[in-house]
Point group: C2
Amino acid sequence: MSTDLFSTYGDLLDRTARKVKQYAQRRFNAENYDITVDQWLILRNLNQNNDLNQSQLAEITDKDHPTLTRIIDLLCKKGLTERRIHPADRRSFNVHLTELGKHHVAEWSPKMAEIRMKAWENLTEADYKNLKRILDTIYKNLDGVKSEGTDKV
Amino acid sequence: MSTDLFSTYGDLLDRTARKVKQYAQRRFNAENYDITVDQWLILRNLNQNNDLNQSQLAEITDKDHPTLTRIIDLLCKKGLTERRIHPADRRSFNVHLTELGKHHVAEWSPKMAEIRMKAWENLTEADYKNLKRILDTIYKNLDGVKSEGTDKV
DNA sequence: TAATAATAGTTAGTGTGACAAATATCGGAA
DNA sequence: TTCCGATATTTGTCACACTAACTATTATTA
C-alpha cells in the first residue's frame, strides 16, 4: 500500500472526532444541559448498567482510571451520581446513578439522539457499517501492542 | 435512518482517534523522538510550507489559536522552530522551521510513515477512500453551524 | 501469621482542546 | 489625525488523556 496515501488518516480522525465532540458540546450548551460530552457517556452507560465499580466503568467507556475518577468527581458534585461503598471490598465503590441522574438521562436522551443524527446527513446505513468496521479494525491493529519497541523507555 | 444504530459513532470515533494517537506517541517515545503527535503535525506542515504565520498554520492544521500558540511555544523551547517578526505586520510572526527542525523532520519521517502504516493492516485502499469520504462528510455536516440554537448561551 | 504481590482508586505533572477575554496592531472612515 | 472595528496573538480557566507515583485494601504464599 502506498505510504503517502494513508499518511494523514490520523489527523483526519482526530479532527473529525474533535468536530463531533465540539458540535455536540455546543448543542448541549444551547439546550442548557449542564453536562460535557464525556460526562454524558458515563451517565448513559450507568443508566444501562447501574452500580458498576470504577474499574468496570472505565473498561466499558474506554476511559483511563484517573480520567474516570475526575469525571465521577464532577458528576457527584452535580448530584447526578454518588459513590457507594462496596459491601465486600473496601477498596472499591459502586458508582450509583441518582434519581436526579436518571431524571436527566430520561429528559435529555431524545435531544441527544437528535444531535447525533445531524452528522449522518448524506450518509447511509452502509456507510455507517463500513465506518464501524474500518475503525474497529484500526483499533484492533493498534491494541495490545503497548510494549512493542518500547525497550528503550 | 434508525437513531439507535448511529447513536455511538461519536464514542467510536473518539476512542479510535485516541488509540491512534496513543499508539503513535508510544512509538515516538520508543524511538526516543522528543516530540508529541500534535507537535509533529505542526513540524510536518512547516516542512512543506515554512514561515507561515500562526493564523495560517492554525487553519491548515485545524488547531485553534490558543492551542497553536502553546504548541509553538514548546517547539521553540526545543529549538525546532522560531518566531520571526513579520516584516510588514508587527502583530504577527512567521513561524520558522530551524535547521535543527528540518534535520529532525528528515531524520524522523521514514519511521513516522512506518508507524502510521501499522493501522492499515487488513484494510484496503478502497477502505481508506471510504473512510476519508465518510469522515469528510461528517465534518462538513457539523461545520459552520456554530450559532445554531445557541441563542440561550 | 508475616511478608509480599496484586488490585481499586487517587493525586500530580504535562500536553492538548474549547472558550472567553485581554493586548497590540492594523486599516479605513470621519 | 483620531477614532473604531477587524485581526494576530496571548493568557486564564476548565475539562480530558496519559504516565507515574502513591495510599489503602485484599489476596497469596512462604
